[in-house]
Every structure is written in structure tokens, then in C-alpha cells.
Amino acid sequence: MRRRLHRPTTLVAAATAGVLLLGACGAGGRDDDGGGGDGGDGGGGATAPGVTEDSIKIGAHFPLTGVAAPGYNEIPTGAKAYFDYVNAQGGVHGRQIEYVVRDDGYNPTNTSSVTNELVLEEEIFAMVGGLGTPTHSAVVDFLNDEGVPDFFVSSGSLQWGDDPEAYPYTFGWQPDYEIEGKIIGQYVAENMPDAKVGLFLQDDDFGDDAEKGVRQFLDDQVVAAERYTSGNTDVGPQIAGLQAAGADLVLSFNTPSYTALSQLVALRLGYEPQWFYTNVGSDADLVGSLLSRFSEGAVEGGSSSLDGVMTTEYIPGVDQPDDPWVQLWQKVWDEHGEKGKLTNYRVYGMSHAYAFVQALQAAGEDLTRDGIVEAMEEVGADLEGPQLAPFRYSSDSHLGISGMRVVEIQDGAGEDLTPVLITDIGDAEIVEDDSGQDGDAPPENGVPEAP
């Protein structure tokens, strides 16, 4: 017998057994910690998974580490600060919100495994604000199969809301890229009819949806469309292509890193068009710091680095300290935030956290997974909030905020060029918003009430 132990194959078996048993033991321990009860039945009775008399557990996946982390990893800190603020005021229907964030490093494989952990082990009631198009794509089927409410995906892809029959539990939040493209397209067509337009697009849903929107209005004016692949940091050929085509207005649908990269390349090439960046890529503070980092200090960063650039805006940001919403966020951050100052990413996190608290209020005291989805379809379009334009939620659409305004950045702050414009995907007309959403203010205590 002793001899056998020396056989490598036996070692394989022994190691397999040992490792498997370890895994199993871990499973046993964790389940006990979880407070008992296997929530595998999936919302049969009044109590949904993750919900108790006095608590609600929700989860999210964000890139907390890796290349996509700068900026984006601040979103959950903002959301957490707001949930803590609400908890300090007594929670929602007497329940404290427990917010579990997991790092996926912006890698869909990791998103899949952390979502398994959140849903199957942590038994979250809902996913709130999971970030990224390719990452969230990996789990949207799973969440809908399991019947987990998948609220306010942090991405403007159309797929989160244009087909509620396919994904009944998924809701978008920010304006989708197509309507952003439409609003920008119409603005340019009306105000700069002679501009030669170049498009600088991320080569996925983001760029495709936006291009579709832009071309509805500008098809004749577009002289070049260049695409970059996220992850490839050399955008020299694309920018040179735009320059060669003679574009004097560049509409860019890209992430913040690529705003900085495109600015640096244009500087090097002596290319000085009018830049128009998507809301996603135009955070002046972040781009400023990226600029000085990428250029190793040669370009002075700072929030004024994007002055003169046009962009869009759908929630008030830190550049508007007088806005009542921003004042609320500042108060929340001062009371419950971590180190560091309030940033636009944290404001983004707080804004969707606010919307989720509204959804919980609307779903009532008997909280179920189907109940909150129904409530959102019913009242979602009338919700007040920091967003400048109303949501589009209904039983036919789970798309988020319906519009935005065009602004020009001066001294790091946006100056309005248009009123808030709203529209929808497809041929829907672009009209001025008359809901008064951009003029509203948060309730006194900063916690939304049931609508």
C-alpha cells in the first residue's frame, strides 16, 4: 500500500479528491453563513430571494481592477454611499439595502463567474447597475432565465431595452447610443450645415448604434467614418484618415481613454477640427488626468483640457455645484462617502441608486421579483429624478432616459447649447422636453417616496 502512494496517478486521484472535498467543504460552510434556506425555488411565495423582513440584498459587477477601472470603479462607491444614506434614514419599507459589488475586470468570463456567485450564492434580489456591453451580454440570458431583475445596466446599448419580450427582467438606464447619435446628428445638421463630418467610432454596439442615429440626419455630410478596436491603443491611422478626408468636425463615440488618445494624436498631427465627444467619453476631469498621464506630463491635464469641445448631458454633474441634485449628492458623499471627492462617476452611481430606491418604493411592501418589474413598467415613465428627461419604461420598452441636451465645455463645465431634447429609437421625432424634469429638485430628506 505504501508503494502505491508514490504513483503519480494515485497522486492525481488523491489531489483531485482532496481539492474537490475542499471545494465541497467550503460550500457547506458558506451556505450555513447565508442564514439557511435554499432559495432555489425562485420567488414562489411572497418572500423573494435576497429579501427578508428588514433587508434587501442586491448586487452588481464592475471593473474594480484592470484597464477599464479608472473612473468606472468610482461608480459603485457613489451608489454605495447613496444606499448607506437611505439606510441611515430607515431604509425602504423598513428594509436596509445591502449592496454587494464584485470585480469582473471588464472580462466577460469573470462577469459570468461573479454573477453566478451573486445570484446563486449571495442570493441577491436584483442586479443593479452591472457595467459594460460585452460583459453584461455574458450574463443577460442567465439573469433572465433565473428571473432576476436586472436593473439599470450601466451601458447605452439598445439590447437592454428594445425587446422586453426577449429580456423581460432587464432595464436600461442611460440614454441609448442611438438617440444620442440622433440628437447630435440633428444639432449638427441644423447648426453646422456646411461642416464636413468625420466619425470616430468604437467598433462595437456603441459605435454602430450611434452611427445609425447620426446618419439619419447627416448621411450627406459624413466624409469619413473611422473605427477603433477597444484595447488597441494606437489610433494614429484613424485620426490621420479623418484628417486626410478633410473632416473639420469630428463626432467621436468612444470611452474616456480614447478621448485622451485621440486628442494626443491630433496634437501630434497638427489636426485641429471641432471635436464633439459622446457623453461617455467627455468627463473633463478624467480625460485631463489621462492626458497628462499618457503624454507623460508633456500635455498639461486638468479639467480645462477639453475646453471648446462639444458634448451632451443627461444628468447634472459636479460642474454644476448649484444644482439641487448635485447639492444632495455632495451631502450624501460628505456623510457616507469614502475618501476622495465627489466625481461625475460617483454622481452617476448615486443617480441610478436613486432610481432603484424609487423602484423599490413603487414595488410596495410585498416585494417580489416580478412585482418590481411590473411596478417599473407601470410608473417608470413618470418618475422624478436627477435625469434631465423622463425614462421611457413601459411594457413595450425598457429603454432608459429619453433625451439629453447638447453642451459646450468651457472651463471644465458644460454650457447649454440646446434645451433638453427627447426622442426614441427609430424614426421617432426629436422634440423639446416639456416634462420639466430638468427643473425639478429632490425631496427634502433626499429619499424618494412611493409614487
Binding site: R3, R4, L5, H6, R7, P8, T9, T10, L11, V12, A13, A14, A15, T16, A17, V19, L20, L21, L22, G23, A24, G26, A27, G28, R30, D31, D38, G40, L64, T65, N73, P76, T77, K80, V101, R102, D103, Y106, N107, P108, T109, S112, S113, N116, E117, L120, E121, T133, P134, T135, S137, A138, D141, F142, D203, D204, D205, T229, S230, G231
Partner: protein, 387 residues
């Protein structure tokens, strides 16, 4: 009784295939027991461990037994995963799962032949460079053929419904209904066991001896009549096939084949699993895979429990992983399994040496001292490595 034992041990020593199958059977029993007694989430985690284990097993054969280094195994997994995704694009996809896996293996194998043929001409850093190019290029192919391969967003993988007979069988054996997560975990572990039996057999056969001969001394191997190129290509192809199977399992577990899942990091991760566990050892590959799968979550949980913020806790995992890696390389350069095995072997040598001196009775005053006959340990080692 004694006769039976002698016969059993003779069979154990004589029949390599029989031994491997017996171990595999035991392994399967352990798998069933463990999967049945763990939660859905653990099942999926174990499935991840299985696919990493399969790929690392293939890589450890290539690097440990044949001495070739590959930084491109993540790309080979991508090929297996994309093949699976293309065959399983909706629930009505009629290709049975075993065929899908087989197709993934075959396609990856063909790619392996092409890459292997090129790789056989290269050595050390050049080979690393060539396979590195593979790791960088393959995700690019998925981006370029956006229409067919889904671009950045990748292809969704839809797990077909579990066949009725599998459900019945599972219920008959275990008395529990088979969940989808558990089904995936069974598939992955079954594939792992089959792959490991095949790899273990190959490694102990003439083919495996040739691989080792080429690794140890090319000139000597060639003089002994081993065709260098053929041995290298065959090792690469076998290893690629394992990566293909791993890719198929990964696609089923993750439910997605996207370029960002198959970055260079994946290839390096596999290599680090192999190094952690111990080069050339299948047990080591499995151990490395287990560390890769469980360590990040355990560390993050510890971090959160210790009151760190989410971001800090998330940053802890790569740090601890790096520290573990450095420690293993410093303290156990042969990898965890390699070091344990060496230690066991040493102890055994010392004991048998002691036994020798005692039975010989020539010098009872110094039992087990170093300096006792060295012939015996030598024969034991050579026996250990050739059987």
C-alpha cells in the same frame, strides 16, 4: 491472501491502462459525490476549475514532458470555444453535445498541427514569441470577422436542453433532479477525467518516452532514432486538442465566447497554473487550476470581512496570487506537487536504504546513515521514472 495481494500488486505494476482506468473510476465517484453535495454556485466554480484543469493538463504535457513552451494556449481554447458557440447558437441547435465537443477538439487539433509544424522548428524564446503571436492574433480574428464571429460582443452559447435519459439516469443514481449548473459541471469533469486518462496513458507510452527523450537531450534522442520534428509536433497537437476540449467546456460554463475572455492573460494564467502545480504533473495542473479558481474569491471574501472597501478587496486577489507565485518559485521550484513528490521519494529512498542496511546486517551500528550503498537508490529512482 498473500498470493492475492502479490497478484494484485503485479497487475497494478503491469497494467498501466488498467491502473489509470481504476483511478479514473475512483475519481468519477469522488466527482459525483462532491457535485451532488455542493450548491449550484460551487458546481459552476468546479466546472471552471475543470476547464482550466483540462487546458493546464494539456499544457503541462507539452511543457513538462516535451520541453516546449506555449504562450498561445488561451488562443487554442478560443478556437474550441468559438467552434462550440457556432454549433450551439440557439436552443433548437440539433448537434448533440458529444459531437460538439468532438468538433471543437478536431478543429483545434487541426490548428494545432499547423502551429505545431511551425513551432517544431523553433526553440525557447523564439517558440514563446511565435505562440505569443497566436495569443494576440486569434482574438483579432474574431474582431475582424464581425458578422460571423460577433466582434467585441462575442457569440452567445445556448446550452441545449438536457436529454431526458440523462435526467432519468441522474435521478435514478442520485435521487435528485439535475440542475443545469450541475449538468455543466458533470460534463466538464467527465471531459477532464477522459482527457487525463488519455494524457496519462500517452505520457507513459512509447510516445511519451520519445517526448521526454527529446526534452532531455535532442542529440541523444536523434541518435536513438527519434524523429525530433515528429515528436515535437505530436506533443503540440495533443496539447492543442486538450485546449480545444477545455475551450468547449469554457464556452458551456461561461455561456459566451468573446475575444476579451481569451486575452494573453488567459494563456499566462494557464502557464502559471502549471508552474504552481509542478511541471509535467497532471495532478499539479489540477492543483494549479484549483488555486486559480478558488483563491481570488476566498481572498476577496477575507478582504471584505476584514473591512476593506470593495475596490481594495478586489485588488487584494491579484496581489495574493502574485505573492503565492513568488513563494512557490522561491521555496518549491519544482511546483507544489513536484516538491511533495520529491520529498516522498527522498523519504522512501532513505527508508529502503535503512532497510537494506538492516537486512544485510553488515553494519548494524550505522543504520540509515548516508554513505550506505548507493546502488539501490539509483535503481529505485530509475524504476520510478520509467514505469
Amino acid at each position: 491472501m498473500a498470493a492475492l495481494r502479490t497478484r494484485a500488486s503485479a497487475w497494478w505494476a503491469g497494467s498501466i491502462l488498467g491502473r489509470h482506468l481504476l483511478v479514473a473510476l475512483l475519481g468519477l465517484v469522488v466527482v459525483v459525490v462532491v457535485l451532488e453535495s455542493s450548491s449550484d454556485f460551487r458546481n459552476l466554480q468546479l466546472a471552471s476549475m475543470a476547464y482550466l484543469g483540462i487546458a493546464a493538463g494539456g499544457l503541462t504535457v507539452l511543457t513538462g514532458l516535451n520541453g516546449q513552451i506555449s504562450l498561445g494556449h488561451g488562443a487554442l481554447m478560443a478556437i474550441g470555444a468559438y467552434t462550440t458557440a457556432l454549433l450551439l447558437d440557439d436552443r433548437e441547435a440539433s448537434t448533440p453535445l458529444p459531437l460538439v465537443v468532438l468538433a471543437a477538439v478536431v478543429v483545434t487539433l487541426l490548428v494545432g498541427i499547423a502551429v505545431g509544424a511551425a513551432a517544431a522548428r523553433l526553440h525557447g524564446p523564439y517558440l514563446a514569441g511565435a505562440t505569443l503571436a497566436l495569443a494576440v492574433a486569434v482574438p483579432g480574428i474574431a474582431l475582424y470577422f464581425k458578422e460571423q464571429l460577433g466582434g467585441e460582443q462575442g457569440l452567445r452559447v445556448v446550452l441545449p436542453d438536457i436529454p431526458a435519459w440523462v435526467l432519468d439516469l441522474a435521478y435514478f443514481v442520485t435521487g435528485q433532479d439535475l440542475t443545469r449548473s450541475r449538468y455543466v459541471a458533470y460534463l466538464a469533469w467527465l471531459t477532464l477525467v477522459i482527457t487525463f486518462v488519455l494524457l496519462a496513458n500517452l505520457a507513459r507510452s512509447r510516445v511519451g518516452r520519445r517526448w521526454r527523450a527529446v526534452r532531455d537531450d535532442e542529440v541523444a534522442a536523434e541518435l536513438a532514432g527519434v524523429h525530433l520534428g515528429r515528436a515535437r509536433v505530436s506533443a503540440f497537437v495533443v496539447s492543442a486538442a486538450a485546449a480545444g476540449a477545455a475551450g468547449a467546456m469554457m464556452a458551456l460554463t461561461v455561456r459566451l465566447a468573446a475575444p476579451s475572455g481569451f486575452t494573453l492573460t488567459l494563456s499566462l494564467t494557464l502557464l502559471s497554473a502549471v508552474v504552481l502545480g509542478g511541471l509535467g504533473s497532471l495532478a499539479g495542473a489540477l492543483l494549479g487550476a484549483a488555486l486559480l479558481t478558488f483563491l481570488p474569491q476566498v481572498v476577496t471574501d477575507i478582504g471584505v470581512d476584514a473591512g476593506l472597501s470593495d475596490i481594495r478587496a478586489a485588488e487584494l486577489a491579484p496581489l495574493v496570487y502574485g505573492v503565492v507565485m513568488v513563494l512557490v518559485i522561491l521555496l518549491a521550484p519544482a511546483g507544489i506537487v513536484g516538491t511533495v513528490r520529491t520529498a516522498l521519494l527522498k523519504r522512501r529512498l532513505r527508508r529502503s536504504a535503512a532497510a537494506q542496511t538492516r537486512t544485510a546486517g553488515t553494519n548494524p551500528t550505522a543504520p540509515g546513515t548516508p554513505g550506505t550503498p548507493t546502488t539501490d537508490p539509483a535503481t529505485t529512482t530509475s524504476k520510478g521514472s520509467t514505469t
